[in-house]
């Protein structure tokens, strides 16, 4: 049980460290990364569904959406 907890804590840290080891892609090579559907955030068309999910579910946050507050939800 303790081992699992430790792995759960270490894994995100390893993830961040691994990400930081990657290198820069030149601007002219970013045509695919700059595609509207490759963005690392929610698109405007997803805003309403994120709202209703935060009302109907106990969890929220870590997705660029609401974390609570601003309405009669959790």
């Amino acid at each position: 049980m303790k081992k699992n907890k430790m792995i759960r804590m270490i894994s995100p840290v390893s993830f961040i460290m691994l990400l930081s080891s990657c290198v820069q892609v030149k601007n002219f090579q970013k045509n695919k990364l700059n595609d509207a559907e490759m963005g690392l955030s929610n698109r405007k068309v997803e805003k309403s569904e994120l709202n209703f999910q935060s009302y109907r579910e106990g969890a929220s946050g870590a997705n660029g959406g609401k974390t609570g507050g601003g309405c009669g939800c959790n």
């Binding site: 990400l19 990657c22 892609v25 405007k44 709202n51 507050g69 939800c73």
Partner: protein
């Protein structure tokens, strides 16, 4: 579920390891350095306008207004407009001002039963203006602030936020954000549970609209309110891994305090007595999310997301989603998606007539129950060069989704998003 959680994280690590590039020597970096940019002064001017409209319809049979039983039928029509202004100066600073205004109209069948007779108002409106301003310097550092308001007849919220983002060499970006919501909940109780007035010669009446008026000396008195505050700190690190793959990790820390119940939620105890929902005065949430987006070949994109969530009310949740935009042409794509969600119950939740008089906190709101949900649907994205029909309409999105919970709640949502340039 823990194994699934660890497996997903492990897969992320393996994928990143497989795709990451090696660092080029410094000499190559110098050889490829481009000439310094020339900066142009440009006053703030309208760059784009976004209009988003959606229609949401829901059915279910576990409304918290009626203590975990009864209709959850809801409709919501939401419309929002956002104007983005950008500008720059000779020192290489880029400015961005975003103003927004949203308007929702909703109906909730269960609201009728705030009054025991079923005569309360079932519809309402919400208005939410917003403004944010940010500056990015030539080194890739962005600083921004924002202010937001949301108002409906029984709930008002004012929020402020500040954010800081810095581009890191090697295609990374670290961003942080702090936000604070200051909310006011109007204490509209179920008609049979309105507290007795403390002064004499006062009569309390709850109208069909759910509003309460006081006779006698309190004729003009307003319905009292309670405060609810939410503070959030977020850290996000995103990284370009290669020409077709990028990922991010986000960690939020959320603290809430104040009146976290809703006054019109009933709870029926096992002895048959009825009470107003009573939840603790504080809540702490800790969600962490991972995104990994991959452009596979020339036509397919994989958008994946996983979130682990835990709070001090006893809820642990896992969310995983995958969306696969398929490019029929370079400016037209179709995107099927699927999202799975699972949570454990809050220790303060129990169904209708299950809580006992010994419970200090109690709720029959099924958002705090144990359940699984599925959300699936399809979206289309259209963004032809030169605009749609050669107009200022530069892109259009339509997205439909169907949502089901194991609590028997189900809903449908359709959203239209238009961008004008």
């Amino acid at each position: 579920m823990k194994k699934i959680c660890l497996t997903v994280i492990g897969l992320y690590l393996l994928l990143l390891n497989a795709f990451s590039q090696s660092v080029k020597p410094d000499s190559v970096k110098v050889a490829t350095k481009v000439a310094e940019e020339v900066y142009v002064e440009k006053p703030l001017q309208l760059e784009e306008t976004n209009i988003v409209s959606s229609y949401y319809q829901q059915n279910g049979n576990h409304s918290a207004v009626t203590g975990g039983i009864g209709t959850e039928k809801v409709t919501d029509l939401s419309n929002g407009i956002e104007l983005k202004f950008t500008g720059s100066n000779l020192t290489g600073h880029k400015y961005s001002l975003i103003t927004g205004l949203g308007f929702d109209h909703h109906t909730a069948a269960s609201s009728a039963y705030v009054n025991k007779t079923g005569a309360s108002k079932t519809g309402g409106n919400r208005v939410y203006p917003s403004i944010s301003y940010s500056v990015e310097n030539k080194n890739g550092t962005t600083v921004g602030v924002g202010a937001y308001y949301s108002g409906e007849y029984n709930y008002h919220s004012f929020a402020l936020d500040a954010d800081y983002a810095h581009k890191i060499g090697g295609g990374g970006e670290l961003s942080t954000k702090v936000s604070a919501y200051f909310d006011k909940v109007k204490l509209i109780y179920p008609s049979e549970l309105i507290p007795a007035p403390t002064t004499t010669n006062v009569t309390t009446v709850t109208s069909a609209s759910g509003r309460t008026s006081y006779g006698g000396e309190h004729e003009k008195a307003a319905i009292p309110s309670s405060l609810r505050n939410t503070y959030t700190g977020s850290v996000t690190y995103s990284q370009i891994i290669n020409k077709t793959l990028q990922a991010s990790v986000s960690l939020d820390g959320v603290a809430q305090n104040g009146y976290l119940s809703l006054p019109f939620h009933r709870v029926y105890l096992s002895d048959g007595s009825v009470h107003v929902e009573n939840l603790p005065g504080s809540r702490y949430k800790l969600p962490i999310g991972f995104r990994l987006n991959y452009f596979m070949g020339d036509k397919i994109i994989l958008r994946s997301y996983y979130r682990y969530y835990k709070d001090d009310w006893g809820i642990t949740a896992h969310t995983a989603s995958l969306e696969i935009p398929y490019k029929i042409t370079s400016f037209f794509s179709v995107s099927p998606f699927y999202r799975f969600y699972q949570q454990t119950a809050s220790r303060y939740f129990a169904p209708y007539e299950t809580h006992t008089a010994n419970d200090q906190y109690y709720s029959s709101n099924y958002a705090y129950s144990a359940f699984k949900s599925s959300y699936y649907g399809v979206g289309i994205h259209l963004s032809p060069p030169g605009g749609i029909w050669k107009s200022h309409l530069s892109s259009m999105d339509i997205r439909y989704g169907h949502y089901t919970q194991t609590t028997d709640l189900n809903s449908n949502i359709i959203t239209f998003a238009f961008q004008f340039k």
